[in-house]
């Protein structure tokens, strides 16, 4: 198993909310990544972002791990929630908030801090 594959899995399984995106929260490089990030911010999710752009291999490995072909990808405690459309839809219906409260505990907003990790 490759080192990259291992670090991607570590992020997915180790972070409360992981967002694999194009760019960083400071410089978002894709409209869909921005949509996912903003939906997560609206519910106060403690987001850990990973930029997939530094190396095309990140995207390939990530899709191999998740079975999801597009970016962004959002995981909560190791489980794939979906891409931008799903995260927006779940946020609008209130389900995203319920999922976060159920998985991370009702006080999940208190730990609200955005961080960025690198997998390469």
């Amino acid at each position: 198993m490759s080192e990259l594959n291992e670090s991607i899995k570590q992020v997915i399984e180790g972070e409360d909310v992981a967002l694999f995106m194009k760019g960083t929260p400071q410089m978002v490089m894709c409209g869909n990544s921005l949509r996912a990030l903003e939906a997560l911010r609206r519910v106060g999710a403690p987001v850990t972002t990973v930029d997939v752009l530094p190396d095309p291999a990140i995207r390939q490995e990530l899709s191999a791990v998740s079975g999801w072909p597009t970016i962004p990808q959002v995981f909560v405690r190791g489980e794939l929630i979906g891409g931008a459309d799903i995260v927006e839809e779940l946020e609008q219906s209130g389900e995203l908030e319920r999922t976060l409260a159920a998985r991370l505990g009702p006080g999940y907003r208190e730990s609200r801090d955005e961080k960025t990790l690198s997998v390469v």
Partner: protein, 77 residues
């Protein structure tokens, strides 16, 4: 790519679809919005519903024909 081949792939995967719409969002043949209403989605979480759409469009997604895909799924009702 025109919208018609994508529509055909979706119609094949969702023969029961009550609503099946493919929109070229940017007019450039690579950014699409698809809407599918099908009984195949019944009882499935959104992530699994979208997976079924990705499976139906696996070829144009893999070869880069589809640069961006927005998906809206719902049950048949």
């Amino acid at each position: 790519m025109a919208t018609e081949p994508l529509r055909a792939l979706l119609a094949q995967a969702f023969p029961d679809a009550g609503e099946l719409d493919v929109l070229d969002r940017t007019g450039t043949g690579d950014h699409f919005q698809v809407t599918v209403a099908s009984a195949r989605f019944d009882g499935l979480p959104l992530v699994e519903q979208h997976r079924l759409v990705y499976e139906a469009l696996a070829t144009p997604l893999a070869d880069g024909t589809i640069h961006e895909l927005r998906i809206k799924t719902r049950g048949p009702g």
